[in-house]
Amino acid sequence: MNAAEGRIRLTVLGGYLGSGKTTWLRHQLHEGRLRGAHVIVNEAAETPVDDALLGRSSTLSVLAGGCVCCAARQDLIDLLRRISDERSKVEGGAARLEQIVLETSGLADPGPIVEAIRSDPVLVYHVVVSEVIVAVDALHSLSQLRGEPLGRRQIEVADRLIVTKVDQVAQGPLQTLLATLSCLNPGAGLSGAVQGVDSPLPDFSEAEPERLPETDQLSPKAPVTPVRLHLDDSIDWTAFTVWLSALLHARGDDIVRVKGVVRTPTGRLLLQTVRKVVQTPEILPEQGDMREDNMIVVIGRGYKAEHLRRSLQYFARRSD
């Protein structure tokens, strides 16, 4: 009997907003490394986007509208109980679910999630947390670690750290990041990835870790919260891009993440940004759940939702 003792192995996949969790997971599913796994995607906003990317790969559940580490914790427990219950009803010879992958929202602290699952009197007999994997954005994480206590908590609880986007940073800063990660969590395995594909990491044994301020010395910041923006018929793609590109230029340090599916003459475009970096939009097929098309989620701090809406309307108004 292994450590799971017949229980479902649960992998928690965490990481800060835009760290590349979904990209990494999508590639693992494509490669067949998580064959048969039930994937649970949690998004802090009520607009799920990541399921559009993962939906064709696996059994998928979406928990949207709150982080499973806090507001939606009971929803997660209920879902895991349902999955466990259905598995218990599977007859002896039939294949049973062996693995669950929980992709947390970028605002989630994996620690309380693991604690909630381990302390649930029912789940303890059905589910075992086998690994906590945390994606770390090579491009942005050092600046996050300097100012965001959440980013550090995510790294500290990881069993394995996947450093993503390693092709987008120079060797020196990457070595500093790796030394810093190794200092924050010496026990975690470290590996690199580019677009979900394994990528070798440089030797960092001689690199100095960044001296991070103590988390209690960080100046308190407003919490990062999601705002939903509906792009109605009065908002065209061109006006929206002028507005968003200006917004990211001016406030890219506070607008941590933007994502959503926008309908354009090209088709359904998946739009994703991480701070000031905008990913090349992907063209999604005309299928799946399209009810949330044209609903953009802006995750950040330092502004009012109403101001975002009014400003976008200003940019999109027509002169005639």
Binding site: Q195, V242, W243, A246, P265, H307, S311
Partner: protein
């Protein structure tokens, strides 16, 4: 995204992803100039909607003209000329002024 597990990417600068045909691109350039013209004069700049030039034509109200490749360059120029970024959440754009 990897070509095997991802969806196809729209080519070009991300802001141009929504215009697949030459006609769409021309219309989008005209519209972009219109939107910019509602914003840039506050920062001492003017945008032109000339469809014959692929870049973004910007002139300073004080004189001088530039053809810029994309919106990132527009915002960088506007910031340089006015001493601060074009902030869409400025009260003049949110109606709080």
């Amino acid at each position: 995204m990897c070509s095997a597990c991802g969806f196809p990417a729209a080519p070009g600068h991300w802001t141009e992803a929504g215009a697949p045909t030459a006609h769409d691109r021309l219309r989008s350039r005209m519209r972009r100039a219109e939107v910019l013209q509602a914003v840039l004069p506050f920062y001492g700049l003017k945008a032109y909607g000339g469809g014959e030039v692929p870049g973004i034509q910007i002139s300073a109200l004080s004189g001088g003209e530039s053809i810029l490749r994309d919106l990132d360059e527009v915002w960088a120029l506007a910031e340089k000329m006015s001493g601060g970024p074009v902030d869409p959440l400025d009260p003049r754009f949110t109606g709080d002024e």
